[in-house]
Symmetry: C2
Subunit: 331 residues, 2 copies
């Protein structure tokens, strides 16, 4: 979908966190990441070469990716001149922000004139089918969480990286805008119309080689009342052979819902397996991915050991430890 | 949303089945159903007075409802003159067909001139919120099915009718286009964007009197891989106090999916309860609604008796028997 390589546009990002999309691209797809472009006042830094539009174009950049958010997640007026310069140099523009490139007339006009494309990756552009639930060839692994934002994308990307390093066939399948910008394609599942959610996931994870693994980015949680329907569409559309349970142990309540507790890992395991067996009776949980960012090294070690013993499954923090043991467990 | 009473437009419906939307309105909302309008070749009959547009207008009709489908579910060219006549007489037009009133320029122009509205009830018009899962006042009953099209809408409507006949406070809450046309309002849930599904159901079933029951139309099935995400959004957004299990015992496979078996009533009960307890720990299954249209009277009797004994819950066919025993069981 998106043409690579990228120039990563950081705009006037007020801090490093505001550039987390660009950071994700640089971390997971360094081969796509030619350089960075900062405006006055930018406080983020990727450690990539600083490039002007002309330098990026000369180096082969095909797409300028908006890799930063300012307050409100909008396209800033301060960015427009640079975006138009990139368009006029013949580069596509890609953004995952809430307000859309296509709603800025000056960008639309410039893109039409230059013959380049504007990609708002938050908005579906494909007419997805209704899911048919037919068995597909190849293997699929889905990350499911006790809550939203517990490391499902990170886990799937870390497993893909480990598998590719071993020479195995693996494809991260993005289902949210950050993942789509990182890999250049995917389905913005939370923006798909209800009837087509599961079909969109089937479309994203089609027939493949028998020894190929799709590593599917999870969304939401079966236990998060706001988004659980999206998660179940992933479980049924994704037809997983294996599940990885994702958890953040310092979370005191469901994200955004102070009146909801997180389920236990055991409850998540049992419910996710029950639902996934509808489409694949042989599905298994193969491991647990824990985001231990909120713990000391010692706390994390002891927590992971306790979970591993209790659940009888490998329990790792892929950020601290890598995903090798999860890949080993794929079977 | 829709203004009542209605003139039910049957067009050139080739048979009675093609007029099932109009039949549903007449059966469940006779007080909305002033008359019928048939074109040449119409083979459907509601047993209502035949009315011209002028007669319907004089009798007080506020909305012409397209109550029939021709082959393909499209708005027929043969209908246009009549629809424009209704618009010019000052009536709104409502339709649940796949192709939209708003896409016919002659209808849009006539409606703008006459100052009336075109309602395509298949398309959401509300900006629904993200669900917050907060406990709401009043009571809610949700129909869940072993499959699609097993009588969930019929069950909820029959329970509403029985409750109103007893002087109880009850509101059928429509989640599909037929239900919306019948009652004049609702949410076309299968057309809502994924992130807002559960929020749309919360919006549809807001705080209410402590002794008021929402009878929520179910959609899909937790076990139907094409639509299960929509169903889970209903379970979590609907925050049910009670569930009614709906089943069609002669079905040999999941609707549209010959390679999928239906779950047992026991499996549906356990899974639906597990999921519903996330939002309401006190939720109960109170009965079973069986569509026995494919069975003889004797077969139906014996099947219902067997299910009732096996499940320890009232099992009725509301079409044959009414919904009194389900209402008794609401508690």
């Amino acid at each position: 979908m998106l043409k690579t390589p990228y120039l990563l546009f950081l705009g006037d990002a007020p801090d490093q966190l505001a550039a987390k999309v660009a950071q994700g691209i640089k971390d997971w797809r360094p081969e796509f990441s030619l350089g960075q472009l900062k405006l006055d006042g930018c406080k983020a830094e990727l450690g990539l070469p600083n490039m002007t539009i002309a330098e990026a174009k000369a180096a082969g950049a095909q797409t300028l990716v908006v890799g930063a958010a300012n307050r409100g997640g909008v396209i800033s007026d301060a960015w427009i001149a640079t975006l138009i310069e990139a368009i006029e140099a013949g580069m596509d523009i890609a953004s995952g922000l809430h307000n859309l490139l296509r709603d800025r007339k000056e960008l639309v006009d410039a893109a039409a004139k230059a013959g380049v494309e504007l990609f708002d990756v938050r908005v579906p552009t494909v007419e997805y089918p209704i899911a048919d639930g037919k068995k597909r060839t190849g293997k699929r692994c889905l990350a499911v969480g006790t809550d939203c934002s517990v490391g499902k994308m990170y886990t799937a990307l870390a497993m893909e990286k480990e598998m590719r390093a071993r020479g195995l066939k693996a494809s991260f399948r993005a289902t949210g805008q950050t993942g789509i910008l990182i890999t250049g394609s995917g389905v913005p599942l939370d923006a798909v119309v209800a009837d087509f959610m599961a079909g969109a996931v089937e479309w994203l994870t089609p027939d493949n080689d028998a020894d190929h693994w799709d590593l599917i980015e999870g969304q939401g949680s079966l236990f998060h009342p706001s988004y659980s329907g999206v998660t179940l569409a992933l479980v049924h559309g994704g037809q997983p052979d294996t599940l990885v349970l994702c958890h953040e142990p310092t979370r005191t309540h469901m994200r955004g819902l102070p009146h909801y507790q997180l389920p236990s890992l055991e409850t998540l395991r049992d419910t996710a397996l029950d639902m996934a067996r509808v489409v694949n009776p042989d599905v298994k949980v193969i491991g647990i991915s824990v985001n231990t960012a909120g713990m000391s090294v010692d706390e994390a070690r002891s927590y992971l050991a306790e979970v591993e013993q209790r659940m009888g499954l490998p329990a790792v923090d892929p950020f601290r430890d890598g995903a090798a043991r999860l890949v080993d467990a794929l079977g």
